[in-house]
């Protein structure tokens, strides 16, 4: 698979005190690459997560949802090449076997072991391969973020990670995230698989609130194809090694800084997924203003972001704002045709219910030739606003998905 033209280089990311990474070959598919990631977390690590809203979630998602209620974590296992979704009791047994093996060898409770898997749906994760892979990982040398980012990927064309820092209680804390995802992306609550690690000390309830808040304008605002995965998972782990007094609520010293850093990190990670959207050649940012509410603005923005006709027009570098009108109209949200205005980049192309007469097409054409396209819609109804990100729909998407075989 060719690297996405929207790819960005993997950044230099610092280690997180209390987090150790290892990878191994479980060979879930007939490939010769690492596909199992094993992360150990220092005692006292807290955890939060957001998971798919799919009604048909994988057993991994159900496992994490249950384990998250306890708020503590000691290990994370990520399998790539098999999502283990829709595999009945055999799938559930595989997750339990993984957690039991880690718990037995690492002196922790099974519920402290988080598990995520990604890949083909409907094939039970082979327990023997998982156990052999785990055993190999247990004895492997620790590795770095790039290894983890590469190991959790499947159809991804480039490894994706981001990091940031915040000052909390006088200490500089670090936040690092890695993520995978390229197709079946309309996370709604989370994206394919994303993992955030920090050395900050954070109470699990506060970490969960901060992650939920960070998720809303990031992972919940991206789409590649409008298809929501059965396995979407974002987990955040806080080892507490930075030595700050634990963040417990909004009044804790540094709570604002931590929340802002986490939100920034999630936004960076989410955008990396869109940049690796299947077949994508352009990153599309859609801003909707003046809607009746933020929720309404989000639904209109997503209607535009998921419209195959808008996405193919952008692929063709065609300033076809009529298709944007269509997508606003079909969203089912309050909209007044005759007060609607639309821009591409900085150029207003339609306003007051019709085309802006004699608008300058040159800056629009040049904006659409770029790799980052902005569509702005102002409904002029209220104060609601939203920003979402999508990518164009190209022959590449068809080739990847019509030729895909499990």
């Amino acid at each position: 698979m060719q690297t996405s033209p929207l790819a960005t280089p993997f950044p230099d990311m610092p280690p997180i005190d209390g987090v150790e990474l290892r990878v191994s070959r479980a060979r879930y598919k007939t490939w010769d690459r690492c596909d199992l990631t094993f992360v150990t977390l220092a005692e006292g690590t807290t955890v939060a997560g957001v998971l798919t809203q799919s009604r048909c979630p994988s057993p991994e998602v159900e496992w994490c949802r249950a384990a998250l209620t306890l708020g503590t974590a000691r290990a994370l296992v990520v399998n790539a090449g098999n999502s283990n979704a829709f595999t009945g009791s055999r799938g559930r047994a595989a997750v339990e076997a993984i957690a039991a093996r880690v718990a037995a060898t690492h002196a922790c409770k099974p519920s402290d072991v988080f598990v995520a898997s990604t890949g083909v749906i409907g094939v039970p994760l082979p327990v023997d391969k998982a156990e052999a892979g785990l055993d190999a990982a247990f004895t492997a040398a620790p590795c770095g973020w790039l290894d983890m980012a590469e190991t959790i990927g499947t159809t991804d064309t480039f490894p994706k990670g981001a990091s940031t820092t915040a000052v909390v209680d006088g200490r500089t804390v670090t936040l690092v995230g890695v993520i995978k995802g390229s197709g079946m992306i309309a996370p709604d609550m989370a994206t394919m698989l994303g993992f955030v690690f920090t050395d900050a000390a954070v109470d699990p309830a506060f970490l969960q609130r901060a992650l939920t808040a960070a998720n809303a304008p990031s992972f919940s605002c991206i789409t590649v194809d409008g298809d929501t995965s059965t396995s979407d998972t974002v987990l955040a782990f806080a080892t507490g090694k930075a030595g700050n007094r634990p963040l417990t609520d909004d009044d804790s010293l540094g709570a604002d800084a931590f929340r802002a850093a986490l939100a920034d990190l999630c936004r960076q990670l989410a955008l990396l997924v869109v940049r690796d959207g299947e077949g994508a050649t352009k990153l599309i940012r859609i801003d909707v203003d003046g809607a009746e509410s933020d929720r309404s603005a989000h639904r209109i923005a997503m209607s535009i972001a998921n419209s195959p006709l808008v996405k193919t027009a952008i692929a063709g570098e065609d300033a076809n704002w009529g298709r944007v009108v269509m997508a606003v109209g079909k969203a089912g949200e309050p909209a007044e045709r005759d007060s609607l205005s639309i821009r591409f980049g900085a150029t207003q192309v339609a306003s007051g219910g019709l085309a802006v007469e004699g608008y300058d097409e040159a800056p629009v054409a040049s904006h659409l030739k770029g790799q980052e396209v902005e569509i702005g819609v102002d409904l002029n109804l209220g104060e609601g606003r939203a920003t979402v990100w999508s990518c164009d729909l190209t022959h590449g998407y068809i080739s990847i998905n019509a030729d895909y075989r499990s």
Copy 2:
């Protein structure tokens, strides 16, 4: 444009007493083909319609919505090549000018003139071309259904029509329909442009109820790309020339037969649109059973029908039922993963929350190689059911829409 591989021959369709068809060249685009259809309807013709639910409808849609409240019709004008949508007061003025010109020359009220337009969004319909086209049509020789079906088309690759009969009050009445549509198809309430004509005598309120009922399982159950047009219009005209006592309510002689015939006709027309879906190579029928309600079944079926991953899998003849699970899961409707079953054609491939062990892949592969693919989902929750039709998503769709220029 190459003819869709799913095309069917245009049928032999009888004239309808009280309906006269004429076509002309208004030259809305730089093409040398007829693009204006003018239909005159006998005095006493009743009319019913279903129109797009878009919040940004064309002025034609608004005009028809207002005129439908009166229930009578004397003429229909259809413009192809320009939808006149999102054109402000100039677009409204163009529709009024068309209705006024027909009313003046044909001794009827402007509100008896129905107008529909299809084509590019955002360019006001040129009144001078419309008027010249109308004048040419007024003096043209009457033509047949095939001429009308070809004249109302835009990106359609084949002309589409269907007819049927019913015995009402001892008389055989005839129903004929023509339709256009290929992309921007998720009609919700109606499809791009469809016109039904009958010589039956039908009270307009009854005609409206029958059309609304016929629309629900036909036009509202098809999708090509999930994109709802700003111009979707289906109108049904009844000239009354068959001489039956007018159908006024459910107890009228022949009411059941007429409703069944109208429903059958709408279903035939709707399927023709999917058969001409942009880039389509396969017609996909999706049956959902066992849902909590019919409405829930419909939403799940549409989630499958609109999933780019399901549609590309069918294009690739890949029995990727995991993507069907995904689409069920994302629909947001009640679903129990572990009681879900899925079939391709007649072969059960997943059941009870996992793959059917050792199912015979040969009939599935052979079914997927055909032009008509059936996906069946049983939720095993309740009695709700729905059937919808879609088509596959291919390179053809991308070529048509990424290269399209107004």
